[in-house]
């Protein structure tokens, strides 16, 4: 063991600092034996108590846990049933929106979340829990596939993919950037042994939550959104960051008690995604529940090129708000939405309003006005009047204004020859 001693001596020179915790007892030989029948499963009784049972494939197995909730169950501020109302409302909504279910019904959604051994997106970051909630026959069915050890990924993905309908539409929280790419990564390792990944559609609610809630929350972490917005109060929750450690402990000890908390945490997560979808949809469908939120929804419609909807939101904010700053921004935005709809004259009314009131959006309004009078009305003198004396802080806006000003001055000189 000379080499090992050398390694121990040089430990502090190595890369990734490693914790020197207790040395784990040698793993029981039993554990390395193939388990092919239910009776051979270590701690089978304990698993049963968690509603979990093994599924076998070619000498490997994966654990599947199932929990059902009645459709009237209240999770936070809403009961699961309310998604049906929300979907009805969406049906009447003709404009395009990223949260619009289009032709999908609640049964088509798969509220989905994973637990992994790390937060990076590298090949070695293992997914050990694939959790989902779905509407099924007037119930909510939570399905969790759990990886009992790194050798069992084929069975793990095999059962997840064979038992999940490919027509499902994923609903996740940051799943577009993290969970789903990681599923793709790990799937690559077993792609010859398991079904292909279906081309699931995907709603990532993190994006929507950031838009609508960021201004009132310290961060958009799901746990904070739950607590502050959804009325969900977790009891004895296992925080997500502990999941990797608990899983490593489970691997050494094999007792499900180590990951029981992680399973519950994940179950809670997928249920909260339902409540969050209901909540966010309601906000969008009502075009906001406060001026600030309405403006955010308006901006969202701007990005989607839904100008009519955007105009409606901003106009409502403009009319209802008594906050100068919000009012100024919304008048500018109404003006822009009108301009996009080729209603320039009316747009000018809103630009002028923004221009006449002090605030950080004055310059933008001035530029809009100058453009209009220069190019549409062909009145360079009037155009110049709007931008003559303003000195914005932002250098790019300043440069734009300076350029415009010079051009207008030249135009004016050309028109009126010096006497």
């Amino acid at each position: 063991m000379k080499l090992k001693n050398k390694l121990k001596r040089m430990k502090h020179h190595m890369g990734t600092p490693v914790e020197t915790k207790k040395t784990p007892e040698l793993i029981d030989k039993e554990m390395n034996r193939d388990i092919t029948r239910h009776e051979e499963l270590p701690y089978a009784k304990e698993w049963e108590k968690l509603n979990a049972y093994p599924l076998f494939l070619d000498g490997e197995y994966t654990m599947k846990r199932e929990v059902t909730y009645p459709i009237d169950h209240l999770h936070g501020n809403y009961s699961f049933r309310e998604i049906f109302d929300v979907c009805h409302l969406w049906e009447k909504e003709l404009s395009h929106h990223p949260l619009h279910p289009e032709k999908r019904r609640p049964e088509d959604f798969l509220f989905f979340d994973t637990e992994t051994t790390g937060l990076n997106s590298g090949a070695g970051n293992l997914i050990f829990l694939l959790g989902s909630a779905a509407y099924d026959d007037n119930q909510i069915k939570v399905n969790q596939y759990f990886l009992p050890g790194p050798e069992a990924e084929a069975a793990f993905y095999y059962y997840f993919l064979s038992e999940t309908r490919s027509t499902h539409h994923l609903v996740t929280y940051n799943g577009k950037a993290f969970d789903w790419p990681q599923v793709k990564t790990r799937h690559t390792f077993v792609r010859n042994e398991v079904p292909k990944l279906p081309p699931f559609g995907h709603f990532d609610l993190l994006h929507a939550a950031r838009r609508l809630l960021r201004h009132r929350l310290p961060s958009c972490k799901l746990s904070i959104v739950e607590k502050e917005i959804l009325g969900v109060e977790r009891v004895e929750d296992t925080p997500g960051y502990l999941a990797p450690m608990l899983y490593f402990d489970y691997l050494h000890e094999q007792h499900p008690e180590y990951i029981e908390g992680v399973l519950e945490h994940n179950e809670w997560d997928v249920l909260s995604l339902i409540t969050l979808y209901i909540d966010l949809s309601k906000r969008v469908l009502a075009k906001g529940t406060s001026s600030r939120e309405r403006m955010e929804i308006g901006k969202w419609y701007e990005q989607l090129n839904e100008w009519e909807k955007a105009e409606w939101c901003h106009r409502k904010v403009f009319e209802a708000s008594d906050n100068q700053e919000i009012k100024q921004e919304s008048s500018l935005r109404v003006g822009r939405a009108l301009k996009k709809q080729k209603q320039e004259r009316e747009a000018m009314y809103y630009f002028e309003w923004a221009f006449r009131h002090p605030g950080m959006h004055q310059y933008e309004a001035a530029i809009e006005l100058a453009k209009y009078y220069e190019h549409r009305v062909k009145d360079p003198e009037k155009a110049l009047h709007f931008i003559k004396y303003i000195q914005p802080d932002k250098s790019n806006v300043r440069d734009d204004i300076t350029k415009r000003r010079l051009r207008l001055q030249k135009k004016i000189e050309r028109e009126i020859p010096p006497s």
Partner: protein, 765 residues
């Protein structure tokens, strides 16, 4: 218009009284005609047509060999070629041929730097565009925009990148690169000679990981390497890649007559053996050529030196030529600036360029007529590389090595034969350094679990995997070891820094622009970055204001002082294991594992001009521990009986200083990579001993090489001592320690004679 042409200038240089006195040696290399062969008939017509459009009607012999061996016979090849011999075709031809034959083929190109990768992309794309074929080649580095990364992963035929990206961005995400790895036909490693020492040892392990991933996806790529002239290209290629290689060295590119001049600035102070500065001599020589409108390149060792020489030259010849016809070239210039300079040099708009070794690597600047080096570049291989910048195909060219007063320069200039007859250095790596190896095993396990019985490209690793399991990084289960940790191992491991826990050097001269200017391993930081130390970075003096040892940060500010600092390191060396030893009647040499405990105690301020001690201070830093490899020489009574205690100590210190100068040249490493410590009473044997140890934990093979060639090392030490014109020892030979007395040169010489008698007589080549 030339006032005098090259031949006339060369004649004049030989005869001019002022100059010829300083010429220590004049070496002429005869011209070589081109050796060309017609395009082979199996080469794709589209490639031939495109080459003909570029004015290339035949291949040089070495290009043909590469095409045949790597393309036709699928052998791993390493081509050794001088600068500007068309080496890129050696790999572009077989790679393009394979892609034209099978559209799904992929190739991976590795270059040591981003700039070289960019160059190569333009070059190969020119060829591809001309052929009008849908072959896609991309660079993939830190600057690649996220939106095109996906395209590159899926559809890039040729992916051009660097080892760092391969290590931290490609391999750990191999599942996103399936189409590359499934169809990987060629791996091109250009500038192979740069992969030596710690960096090379890391890269060799990255290649092991690369091969492992390629195998996993079912491909078995062919390696094509190119290297500048080193003594052991095949051996290096084999240790970097773990494959066996065919050597291609039948260079067919033509070469004009070359003159290599060893120039020693005149002595200005006989007693102190002080010569005129190399910089001013370089200015004088360079302006002579530039005034005659002869394209000249000047190499200098630091960025500051480049700027100094540049401004002098621009001043000197501004009347003859505009100042913009002489340019500087170094790291830190923007890519566009550099492209402009390269272009100006190629088309002759720029007459002169002053560069750091940045232009040593294969950037295309065409061929110049004169090359002047400010001081010996530090290794024979890089001297030849720099010299290769001068020499157009049909014309005579001139290279002038202007020696500085550094001992190694003086040794080289007085022993031109040593330089000219010596094989270029041997590039060494030690991919099995335990720390480097186990760091990369972590990365490899992250990428793909290890099966029981699996080796790491032939290296048995089970014991290390067991160790990593105990450390709870891996999980042994079934018949495999799995990565089981929440970190991303590649992020903690840098290929270019010596030790993982480096001290970062932060320049806070300008409070509004605080920036990191470098890093240094912990061990060296104790003596070079302690508080109040004068730290030299690229020729600029900085004073260390604060050293935060816990956070590993050194805060420095620019200063201008007339002294440097020299810290005393109390070193305790314990021999842990003796792996090999040799007894030469009283002289014992050995190699093994040592533990070095070091503590910085005090530092001295030493005046730059006179080496006087002008002050001191104490250093408060904790003791450091380094476990590494060492080789040592111990003297027994048979030798020591000829000395009294005092003179033995002097001789030991003198010899250690000589070895410190000569050994880095011998093993092709930086002076700071190898420490030499004399001890009057070594702990393990109680004998007077000189230790030479690798400065990197676990060792990287430097001291091992020294152990195998101690006799020639001692011979070089003796030659350095004897050729030094000083009478009683000086900083150029035995060192400048204040404890040395006037006898030191003489006693050191005596000791060397004693040692030499004990080695079997070697016949000089």
């Amino acid at each position: 218009m030339h006032k005098r042409n090259m031949a006339q200038l060369i004649d004049w240089m030989r005869s001019d009284e002022d100059l010829s006195g300083n010429i220590a040696h004049w070496h002429t290399i005869p011209e070589e005609p081109a050796k060309e062969v017609p395009f082979p008939d199996y080469l794709d017509d589209r490639i031939i047509r495109s080459l003909k459009n570029k004015g290339i009607d035949s291949l040089y012999t070495h290009q043909k060999s590469a095409l045949e061996l790597s393309g036709l016979y699928q052998k791993h090849t390493v081509s050794v070629t001088p600068t500007a011999s068309g080496k890129t075709l050696s790999y572009n031809l077989p790679v393009l041929q394979s892609i034209l034959k099978d559209e799904s083929s992929r190739a991976l190109y590795l270059f040591p730097t981003k700039a070289l990768a960019q160059d190569q992309k333009s070059e190969i794309n020119e060829l591809i565009d001309d052929m009008g074929v849908p072959v896609k080649s991309f660079t993939y580095d830190g600057d690649t925009a996220p939106n095109i990364r996906q395209v590159i992963r899926k559809a890039g035929h040729i992916v051009i990148t660097n080892p760092d990206m391969l290590h931290a961005a490609i391999l750990p995400h191999h599942t996103k690169w399936v189409s590359l790895f499934e169809n990987l036909k060629y791996i091109v490693i250009d500038e192979l000679h740069t992969y030596r020492g710690v960096f090379g040892s890391h890269v060799a392990n990255v290649i092991r990981r690369l091969k492992r991933i390629a195998r996993y996806y079912g491909s078995d790529p062919v390696f094509i390497c190119t290297s500048a002239t080193i003594a052991n290209p095949s051996e290096l290629a084999e240790s970097v890649t773990g494959e066996s290689f065919e050597l291609i060295n039948n260079n067919g590119a033509p070469r004009g007559k070359k003159h290599f001049v060893f120039y020693n600035p005149p002595i200005v102070n006989e007693a102190l053996n002080i010569r005129k500065g190399a910089t001013s001599e370089v200015n004088k020589l360079a302006s002579l050529f530039l005034k005659e409108k002869i394209q000249t390149i000047v190499f200098a060792k630091s960025r500051v030196r480049v700027e100094v020489i540049l401004s002098h030259l621009q001043e000197l010849i501004k009347k003859e030529l505009g100042p913009s016809t002489i340019r500087g070239y170094r790291g830190g210039y923007l890519p566009k600036q550099r492209r402009d300079i390269e272009k100006g040099l190629r088309n002759g708009d720029i007459m002169g360029v002053v560069s750091t070794n940045a232009l040593e690597l294969g950037v295309d600047i065409g061929q110049l007529q004169v090359c002047i080096m400010t001081g010996y570049p530090g290794s024979i291989a890089s001297t030849w590389q720099q010299a290769g910048r001068a020499g157009r195909r049909q014309e005579e060219s001139l290279t002038i090595l202007v020696a500085s007063s550094a001992p190694i320069d003086q040794y080289m200039i007085q022993h031109p034969d040593f330089f000219l007859s010596q094989n270029p250095e041997t590039a060494r790596i030690d991919p099995n350094n335990l720390i480097i190896l186990s760091d990369h095993l972590k990365c490899a396990a992250f990428e793909l679990p290890f099966r029981e019985g699996e080796t790491f490209d032939g290296v048995e690793v089970e014991e290390i995997l067991e160790f990593l399991t105990e450390e709870q990084v891996l999980h042994h289960r079934g018949r495999k070891w799995y990565w089981m940790n929440d970190t991303f191992p590649a992020h903690g491991i840098s290929l270019r820094s010596a030790s993982q826990e480096n001290v970062v050097i932060i320049d806070q001269t300008t409070k509004s622009d605080v920036k990191v200017i470098g890093e240094m391993d912990r061990f060296s930081a104790m003596t070079l970055l302690h508080e109040k130390a004068i730290y030299l970075h690229q020729g600029i003096q900085y004073q260390v204001e604060e050293l935060d040892w816990e956070e590993r940060k050194a805060y420095v500010e620019e200063v201008r002082v007339e002294y440097f600092t020299d810290a005393n390191l109390a070193v305790e060396l314990k021999v842990l294991d003796e792996d090999d030893s040799c007894n030469h009647s009283g002289l014992e040499t050995a190699f093994g594992d040592v533990m070095v405990n070091a503590k910085a105690t005090i530092f001295k301020k030493i005046r730059l001009s006179t080496f006087e001690n002008i002050g001191s201070g104490s250093i408060h830093l904790p003791e450091e521990e380094l476990h590494t490899n060492a080789c040592w020489l111990s003297l027994s009574d048979e030798i020591t009986q000829h000395f009294d205690r005092e003179s033995l100590e002097q001789a030991l210190m003198g010899l250690a200083h000589l070895i410190r100068q000569v050994a880095p040249v011998h093993v092709m490493c930086d002076q700071s990579d190898l420490h030499v410590v004399p001890q009057m009473k070594a702990t393990h044997s109680e004998k007077p001993t000189i230790f030479m140890y690798d400065r990197y934990p676990g060792g990287i093979g430097l001291s091992k090489t020294l152990f195998q060639s101690l006799s020639s090392l001692l011979r070089q030490a003796k030659e350095l001592l004897r050729s030094c014109p000083c009478t009683s020892g000086c900083p150029s030979c035995t060192g400048s320690d204040v404890n040395l007395d006037e006898e030191v040169k003489w006693t050191t010489n005596r000791l060397l004679r004693q040692l030499e008698e004990r080695f079997p007589v070697e016949t000089k080549k």
